[in-house]
Symmetry: C2
Subunit: 215 residues, 2 copies
DNA sequence: GGCGGGATTATACGATCGGACAACGAATTG
DNA sequence: CAATTCGTTGTCCGATCGTATAATCCCGCC
């Protein structure tokens, strides 16, 4: 197989460069707000390469979403591995802590969910069926376990817990630019991330020094 | 002043119809995803009327945002009036309850915030300076009051509380379509709204029957 | 050295966008 | 009634979009 290329790059690097650029662009400006020409410019390649490698803009988007949720899935699997040992409040707090820091490191997948989750359409159905649903069911079983172990005491459907967590963890990072303008604070600052993790833990598990909500 | 018009409508109704249609469109598809032609079609008017009444698409967007946040401000003022009497947990719960129901009735302003808050740009700066900042400061004083009255006990900056509330309350309604696809549950269903209000209350104030997080 | 084929580029097409503009219609005013 | 004025419409322009297509390039292979 002869790979022509401009002899600048080692291999099919350009495809991955396009993918990363597409993920950044879609996360920043949404699907409609991103143009394939801009994505190609970010990747430093000719814009004709996008139809060549990915066919259509929609398929490029799907590949970028797969990339983002791949990272997410890896992080979640790590969390779930930890969860298997978890049975008390301290462990739950570690889970929350790890999740907040993960979202802070990878805000793209929150952005993608927020961009598409509001619209009824093919992209929303695709991302929900392929990525969000497994995530949701994983969290639901996690919640049920916490409930049985009396780590969490709540009397509403897991669905609400899901959006409570998704919202309270993700929005400050999703709205990072707004947050900076509003308060001058960069939510991605490590100290701020840490404080937010404490805040979420406080919300879900109650204050650390007093008898917790959960107990 | 001679107002010609097609003699179908009583007055400058078309201007307001355009505004409402613009608000719906911007909330549904964002700024880039909405076209002035589509907005005009929704309002049932010629698309040439938009530059006539509002000049530019951006100014139309600003007028629509003012409309949405006007409703929001009215709701918040009502809440703040209630808050003046509030000094215990029950009152705080009522505030949360009212706010959740308001957001459920008017999801547009959450959508607008989520659409622009992620991007650094003129529209984000405009909406933050004009609308979000007053909202944030109002909540901050409210939080300080709750803290002094020992209704709320938290040891992190009000900024985190702001995004905790904004996220946990708003995301399930912002992502309504996703939520329907994910679980089959319509978050705007009155019973679901009520349950979500209970869920948020549980998060912020602790379980109702046990010694609350706040006390 | 020529050749074949995948990688890359340049160019073009149709569609849609925001906005400009002139013409038209109707009601008010003299 | 004539003139003016503002609401309204239809049309057009330049830019940008996604994508198709053909030419070009560069490498491994005979």
């Amino acid at each position: 197989m002869a790979r022509g290329a401009a002899a600048k790059e080692p291999a099919g690097d350009r495809r991955e460069r396009i993918l990363r650029a597409a993920l950044a662009a879609f996360a920043q400006n949404g699907f409609d707000g991103s143009s394939t020409r801009d994505i190609a410019a970010r990747a430093g390649v000719n814009h004709g390469l996008i139809p060549y490698y990915f066919g259509t803009k929609q398929k490029l988007w799907q590949a970028a979403v797969d990339l983002a949720f791949g990272d997410m899935k890896a992080g979640l699997d790590m969390l779930l591995a930890d969860a298997s040992i978890t049975s008390d409040r301290e462990r739950a707090a570690q889970l929350i802590h790890a999740h907040v820091h993960f979202v802070a490191r990878h805000p793209e997948f929150v952005r993608l969910m927020h961009d598409e989750g509001k619209r009824r359409g093919a992209r929303m159905r695709w991302i929900v069926d392929r990525h969000v649903k497994p995530l949701y069911e994983a969290l639901a079983t996690l919640l049920e376990r916490g409930r049985q172990q009396h780590t969490l005491k709540f009397d509403f459907a897991p669905l609400h817990f899901f959006y409570l967590v998704a919202g309270s963890v993700g929005v400050i990072f999703h709205q990072a630019e707004e947050c900076k303008r509003l308060s001058g604070v960069d939510p991605f600052d490590p100290a701020v991330v840490e404080e937010h993790a404490r805040a979420v833990t406080w919300m879900l598990l109650g204050p650390p020094d007093e008898p917790a909500t959960a107990d």
